[in-house]
Amino acid sequence: MKTQKLELVCPAGTPAALRAAVDAGADTVYCGFRDATNARNFPGLNFSREELGAGIQYAADHGSKVLVALNTYPEAGNPEAWHKAVCDAADLGAHALIMADIGLLAYAAEHRPDTRRHLSVQASASNPDAIRYYTDTFDVKRVVLPRVLTVPEIAKLNKEINVETEVFVFGGLCVMAEGRCSLSSYATGQSPNMNGVCSPASHVRYEDKGNKMVSKLGDFTINAFSESEAAGYPTLCKGRFSTQDKVSYLFEDPTSLNAVEFLPELMEAGVTALKIEGRQRGKAYIAQVVKSFRIAADCAARGEAIPDLGLEHITEGQRETTGAYNKRWQ
């Protein structure tokens, strides 16, 4: 199926960011509760029940929808917080719940069957058989594709499945299969899958070693910067390491995804929705990125060339990559 107009799915870590996204033209905004039930469990971020209710109302008043991410894996022996989050989000009027855990999908399908279920990128469903498992078993209506597929692979995939697909087009980039990575957990004891936080700030330290600034995660040095370099955040898989006596960004450079140039091809590939990463970002950033992608998506829908949107200026000096969409990335 060829999509006529791509839906723009935008992040909100705060009520102010939600309003900024809606005002800038987001078709849909996604957010999470202020606890471990979602994969952006950062201090000072996310929504209380009241804030979510108000946010859903604000979005509805402006013709937008709200999705709630419940995309961590409930801890064994302690699923109540996740179950309550499913019921509360649905009862507050969320358009859909974004989930990765099979047990939680089963719970949502049983207890709140009328609220749409989206499969989170954290489920890392990367092929038609895996995707059909989720659609057949839990009547999932949309799948957020892992960031490991090329555009031709996405096109082929869409021909083999009968479900909406959503793809990441901007922001932070996991280089590992999402939801299947415990690197950060190994170094810090905090699990991205269970605690909803990767390379947590609580375990980050910067040490001034005279001529260089060293960034650490737990006990491990993730990077070191000379005085002329800006010291970046030590996200584990974007660090500088040594293998074969060579120092390199072995996993990935400290880059940020920008696939704006691929919008026409993604539309041609049958993608339903475009996702912007960044619930940890401020409202000014959200407003600017959403506005740019609104223009880009509308141009793509009209078959017009996408203008230069100056998005490179807002990736905070980081280099950009088109990630796995380009086969050479592998």
């Binding site: 894996y73 990765a100 058989d129 280089v175 293998t243 996993f251």
Partner: protein, 315 residues
């Protein structure tokens, strides 16, 4: 795991040592001979066969699989075939389907695509499928999972809750480097300045994985093609009796480039209370040439940490 009552005597099930799939790129003849030795000498119950990490490696060992499976079966071992952990390309989808459609064999699913194909018949599930809680466990068991190998990052508390709820046999990896991540990108190839498509199979240079150090020169991780593993070798030899008390009786050894027959014997001897975990740790340390041990995940802390019987052999 239920406790079997035999008259007045309460019997706990016999603990089993199983050999997980070889995760590294070893020469086909070396791998064949490795399994022959396991068949002939190792006190293991189940052997998992098959390529889990990279589909590009698959063709090399394929010719030996029938002989190896036969030798293992004749030696009284149960053979389970493991599927790929990351299924992306059309070829990988087809390979997974073919494996899952084989009759009269047990398959271990390492991706949801395999779980989907195996639903409705008895099967095993490997540690690359996320089973973190009782809800997911229940769905998997309803679909026919009888043997489930759990992810290495689960703590004792999680394992305890899962074991209470399980009707299937739960397995925990008690030895070998822990798989921590998998990617579409090949870091072994990248480290050698090669693309994945023309990788020259350079991962065969590192039969235990390629060391990745921090800029300070501290060992941190180990690279195995598209997979990233712990630098430390998981070792729960001091936690075996605790695991048994939780109701977990299947223990996975993940192959490393050492005398795995001896490793299996050491674990068997601890289970049979012939040697103490501390003594066993020292023997294992010798076998591993000082590769540091870790068990932090079990204690709900950094996975890299070493506690209890293996403490002095940590990083």
């Amino acid at each position: 795991m239920p406790i079997i009552k035999d008259g007045n005597k309460i019997m706990t099930p016999t603990s089993k040592i199983n050999l997980g799939p070889n995760l590294f790129n070893w020469a086909p003849e070396k791998l064949r001979d490795f399994y022959y030795k396991i068949a002939d000498e190792a006190p293991v119950d189940t052997v998992f066969l098959g390529e889990v990490v990279c589909s590009k490696r698959l063709p090399f060992f394929a010719q030996h699989i029938p002989d190896v499976a036969e030798r293992l079966t004749n030696a009284g071992k149960r053979v389970i075939f493991s599927t790929l952990a990351l299924v992306l390309t059309k070829r990988e989808v087809e390979l997974t389907r073919e494996l899952c459609e084989m009759e009269d064999v047990l398959i271990e699913a390492n991706d949801l695509s395999a779980c989907a194909k195996l639903s409705g018949r008895d099967h095993a599930i490997g540690p690359f499928v996320n089973i973190y809680n009782e809800g997911t466990l229940k769905v998997m068991e309803q679909q026919g999972a009888k043997h489930i190998s759990l992810a290495g990052e689960l703590s004792r508390s999680s394992l305890s809750s899962l074991a209470k709820a399980a009707t299937s046999d739960l397995e925990v990896q008690v030895f070998g480097r822990l798989p921590l991540a998998i990617s579409a990108r090949c870091y072994h190839a990248r480290s050698h300045g090669l693309a994945k498509d023309s990788c020259q199979y350079v991962c065969d240079k590192d039969p235990d994985g390629m060391d990745l150090d921090t800029l300070d020169g501290d060992p941190f991780l180990s690279v195995n093609g598209v997979q990233t593993m712990s630098y430390t070798c998981a070792n729960l030899i001091g936690e075996l009796s605790d695991l048994q008390s939780l109701g977990i009786h299947n223990f996975r050894l993940s192959p490393q480039d050492t005398d795995m027959v001896e490793v299996a014997k050491i674990f068997r001897n601890v289970l049979d209370e012939k040697i103490e975990p501390i003594e066993a740790s020292a023997k294992l340390n010798e076998l591993m040439n000082g590769m540091p041990f870790a068990n932090g995940f079990y204690y709900a802390t950094e996975g890299v940490k070493a506690k209890g019987a293996i403490e002095e052999f940590g990083l």
